[in-house]
């Protein structure tokens, strides 16, 4: 019996990916004055697709107790985080300035704001869904 549906899983994944995205953008902001620095970016839809892919396969099931554990690797962090991390790539910059720095600070700041908002929206949705569940489970009290 599944209590937590795929929507909740999707929301969890989006929270993970949004956090990775924030890290990427924060790295770009921190290096906004580093000569020769090329910014990094993360394609959100691509990362979400990869996260869905990983959770769909969910590793391999062992058919014998003596088989080695193949449950999807020994990587720390959630699968969505790892899937998104592996997709970070160079890009998203503007034309280089005199010292070779390619960061477009304004674009990065706008990206940070949007990312933060979307993170909040996903968190809100997840919280609300769980609240409905909680209400039903506690028999209509609280």
């Amino acid at each position: 019996m599944k209590i937590f549906d795929t929507t909740l899983t999707r929301l969890e994944q989006s929270l993970d990916v949004r956090l990775v995205e924030h890290n990427v953008l924060a790295g770009n902001v921190a290096n906004a004055d580093t000569p020769g620095y090329r910014p990094k970016e993360l394609d959100f839809s691509q990362a979400m697709a990869a996260a869905q892919q990983v959770s769909a396969t969910d590793g391999m099931a062992a058919t014998d107790a003596r088989h080695l554990d193949a449950s999807g690797g020994t990587m720390d962090g959630s699968r969505a985080t790892n899937a998104a991390t592996m997709l970070i790539r160079q890009g998203g910059g503007s034309s280089p300035s005199i010292d070779g720095n390619e960061v477009d600070v304004d674009r990065v700041m706008a990206g940070l704001a949007e990312n933060g908002l979307q993170y909040g929206a996903s968190a809100k949705a997840a919280g609300k869904k769980l609240a409905i569940l909680r209400y039903v489970v506690s028999d209509g009290a609280a």
Binding site: N23, A26, G27, A30, D33, M75, T81, Y119, G120, A123
Partner: protein, 143 residues
């Protein structure tokens, strides 16, 4: 890749910008300093900023484009360009020919650096602010 990582990255950014501000103000303050401990006029200081990859923990996924980078001041170098020479024989620091060498500080240059560092500092602070809001929303899931 989590909140602590993001906090540290933005923290390094703040540190770098603060150092830039300090160097710019030091240069401005010493724009007319003709005598230093090592003899000779003040030489303006330049930061050398370097991008440092965030240390990957064991077992963490590797990004194809490299991990998010922290910023770091790897060194502070003195600008070697000679300052302007002004003919002023009565000056206590005048050389035998009567010229005084003033520091190679261009105040306009330093103020521009100051403004740029200030703007970048604000940008890093905004990034931390956004992170704090996100963390709060994340915690609110559990009401």
């Amino acid at each position: 890749m989590d909140f602590l990582t993001a906090l540290r990255i933005s923290g390094t950014g703040l540190g770098v910008e603060r150092t830039r501000v300090n160097l710019a103000t030091s240069n401005l303050a010493n724009a007319e300093t003709t005598r230093t401990e090592s003899g000779g006029p003040y030489q303006r200081l330049d930061p050398v900023i370097q991008a440092v990859p965030f240390p990957a923990e064991l077992g963490q996924a590797q990004a194809s484009g490299g991990p998010p980078m922290m910023a770091q001041i790897s060194s502070v170098v003195a600008d070697q360009t000679p300052g302007k020479k002004v003919y002023s024989p009565g000056h206590p620091d005048a050389d035998p020919e009567g010229f005084v060498t003033f520091p190679n500080v261009n105040p306009v240059h330093e103020v521009v650096n100051l403004m740029s560092a200030s703007r970048s500092y604000e940008a890093n602070a905004t990034a931390i602010d956004t992170l704090k809001t996100m963390a709060q929303r994340g915690l609110d899931i559990a009401r």
